[in-house]
Symmetry: C2
Subunit: 507 residues, 2 copies
């Protein structure tokens, strides 16, 4: 199964362009905007970022400027975001990150970060919102004799980043399983408004494009051979809180199926990244639903196990992001899996048209929710970026049902995840249908803000914070308008108290 | 042209159900949920609401409860929302309103109001999110011999409200122009997930359905004859501020056309309600763009005049909402207009799939924006509802370009429309591309929060507030994380100061 990386470059012209990462990095200059592959630690370039970081360090040592603007699919890994941040080589970064190094640089004001809906990325590249894309660097599993690119563990924004690029560098990674070939479905022709046609996808597993990425081969300036695994983060086993959250969502599904409002195999499932979202999928292993489908952004351990167990018949995603154990299960079962998993461009996985048409059930983690149903997915205490909104907005706004999940408290109870007003708004009261903590679920559909407040406080907040929330709400009702009662001078005081004392509770 | 209302009921079975509004109102009981037609003062029932309000008053006089839940298309008029609010006959209301009586009741805590994306309304009715729809009351221009309903000046949610209803009451209004017949396009079969097909609309003026509404005629319990005009609010003539806002947007269009990033006839235009948005369209009368198209929610005076002037070749909307003068122009030119204007269900006009496919240019008014590009469209000083989000979220999120417009100050300068943090979030930093005031425009695309703050403060804020904003921002940079600098204890203090002193400025 393992050809060497060089053997995987079947196209003769591209084989002639094989060079070292250091040589290829010479194409990258200060001030350039780079399209860089990578989506939740999958399919990012393994060698070029380090070589670019070395160029930046050398330039800085000479007293020269060297910073790039980087547009990725989503998060990458320490050997991509991490090394570039450590070399102080990044001026601007979008659309999503989760690397501690990049994060610290963003929050220290050293990197300009645009946190954006992932469905917008390819469209905005195509329409020139970021100016020229000077170099695009992607990872491939191989290149066919006729120059078609076999993608690796994710597609992300690669299709558009290749089309828009002035120069292209392809890393061919011998560690990526060659049986990934034909698991991808690249829809090329999304068109330019006002002359667009409907996207012809009507089932989660429809194939509407090509298994290969294509590009203008004359733009390929370098092919670099690599041999490294994707970043693999281990998931925590579902804890008691996660299991309680999962159980409530599954109870709700049961209820809706019995009422005839949801098919017996539910609707296509989307699950955000992280332990709690993963736990909900784990809970479905033992739930009485079969022939499930997935239409999600990142396929992680939980969904993989549903497919291997025969509970889920197919899943669509833009990237595969597994723990080391799950990667082993994926490779062990790839013959069984390869016609059940479809990897697509992120413009397709996250497309509002398709999410709404399919009636996806969206389940995403949050940092905090407020009593009126606004959700903060991104900011710690209002000012510091955690990771980003990712696809949570694409799915939440267009979902048939949208859930936000979190334990009710964090930091041993010093932080309440239910607050009077969220310190940053990523999903507004208009978008959020269900809030679920280990304490309970609030069904906010068809409710006014005041009705929502009662449900969120009484069903979702931790008992340690319930009296404080009720006290705030009762006083807010006397302070201003009664549509969305707030005490403006106090609405963000819980966060301020945490910043000052390390605890949202009044000591 | 004017048949009597009775002559407009061509179906014999329905003609036999003609009765007075008072008789028809007997079908409405306390606690019922009603689907009521109406969209921005167009096509709402003229007689039933008063008759229901009288029933409520009589019940209240007897010491009995009488309140209904009402789901409309959008805003109605004094003789619908107004009389029901005055009679204290409303328990719950969605998805949009703009009536002073309803607004006061909402802000006094007497009515539960759910402010929601208009594209979600029909889907959520269909899927039972509001429970049973006991009675639906619509207005029609007439009823054909085979029982098809000729809609009036708007469609809104009528298609779904009729399908979901247990009982139906149809008002036939002799004041509505019979030549409205065939101007509508009702797409019936949007399907149920996961078995939906693409919506086959690819041009703003495509016709994909029927010119008539249909319903189960056995459910029609009453036909009521009316003879009243729609509410007609006069627009203010564009003032200097509005003209300056319009000029900047048109300059931008010119720039993009020259750069080849926008077609010469632009892209389909959406314009929110209100004087400023209307002024932008008025500005296009003299701009060098021809063969314009409109894909909007409400077609108002500005777009009508573009069509009459031959600048716009076609427009799609869910309702026609005109000033008295514009209504006269509409009726005078209806033979010319009837193949250029298409009226559709709001589920189609506001559909994310179609807005994104067509590449609509969204232009919407706002109450305030903050320095990071978050927008408040709905709340006065964070707690009181003004009107609602309407379709602004549907269009903004999915638009090719999205603009938010407002004069930089209100109340003679006592309120800055650019604030440190908006007091309510309807459109987040992830969705807002351009903010335009009479002072200037901020292009927020591809910018970090700190980059956006510089643009919004320096380009858009009124000079009286610029120093205050710069001072806040400079101190915020020292207060916490540097991704989105804020001083949490002070972020909403401008609003608090206005509530306490009547002025956001420090005296």
């Amino acid at each position: 199964m393992t050809a060497t990386a060089a053997e995987r470059v079947q196209h003769q012209g591209l084989r002639a362009k094989i060079m070292s990462a250091e040589q290829a990095a010479e194409f990258v200059q200060h001030g350039m905007t780079l399209g860089i592959a990578g989506f939740t630690g999958a399919g990012y370039p393994k060698a070029l970022p380090t070589a670019i970081a070395e160029r930046a360090k050398a330039a800085h040592a000479r007293g020269e400027e060297f910073k790039i603007n980087m547009i990725t699919g989503a998060s990458t890994a320490p050997e991509c975001d991490g090394v570039l941040a450590a070399a102080n080589a990044v001026n601007f970064r979008n659309p999503f990150q989760s690397d501690p190094g990049i994060r610290n640089s963003i929050n220290a004001g050293n990197i300009h970060y645009q946190d954006m809906h992932l469905s917008h990325v390819e469209q905005q590249i195509r329409n020139g919102f970021y100016g020229d894309i000077h170099v695009t660097i992607i990872e491939a599993t191989g290149i066919t004799a006729d120059g078609k690119i076999i993608p690796s563990m994710g597609i992300g924004h690669n299709n558009e980043a290749l089309k828009a690029a002035q120069k292209i560098i392809i890393e061919v990674n011998a560690k990526q399983n060659p049986l990934l070939e034909t698991m991808h479905d690249v829809y090329f022709d999304i068109g330019t408004p006002p002359n667009r046609q409907p996207i012809p996808l009507v089932k989660p597993d429809d194939r509407i494009g090509s298994p290969y990425l294509e590009c203008d081969l004359d733009k390929v300036v370098a092919v670099v051979l690599t041999d490294g695994f994707d970043r693999n983060s281990k998931f925590a086993d579902p804890d008691e809180n996660s299991k309680r959250i999962a159980a409530q969502i599954i109870d709700f599904f049961n209820h809706e199926v019995k009422a005839g409002r949801l098919p017996k195999n539910l609707l296509p499932l989307q699950s955000g990244v992280g332990n709690v979202a993963n736990a909900v999928l784990a809970g479905l292993l033992d739930a009485p639903f079969d022939d499930l489908t997935g239409y999600t952004e990142v396929l992680q351990d939980g969904m993989l196990d549903l497919i291997i167990a025969g509970k889920m018949k197919s899943a669509s995603a833009t990237a595969l992001s597994f723990s080391p154990d799950a990667l082993q299960r994926f490779n062990d079962n790839i013959e069984f899996l390869r016609d059940k998993i479809v990897l697509r461009p992120m413009e397709i996985t996250n497309n509002p048209e398709l999410i709404r048409r399919l009636g996806v059930i969206g389940m995403n983690a949050m940092i905090e929710a407020d009593i009126y149903g606004n959700v903060n997915s991104t900011h710690v205490m209002g000012t510091k970026m955690m990771n980003g909104i990712g696809g949570s907005g694409d799915f939440t706004r267009n979902a048939f049902f949208s859930f936000f999940v979190s334990p009710s408290v964090a930091k041993d109870g010093a932080i309440s995840c239910i607050v009077p007003m969220v310190s940053h708004h990523d999903h507004t009261e208009h978008d959020v249908m269900f809030i679920v903590t280990e304490q309970g679920m609030a069904d906010l559909r068809g409710k006014s803000p005041r009705q929502r407040a009662q449900l969120v406080i009484n069903n979702c907040a931790h008992p340690d914070y319930r009296d404080m929330l009720n006290d705030y709400y009762a006083r807010a009702e006397k302070a201003g308008g009664l549509h969305t009662p707030h005490i403006l001078a106090e609405a963000l005081s819980w966060h301020q108290r945490f910043v000052e004392t390390g605890d949202m509770r009044i000591k």
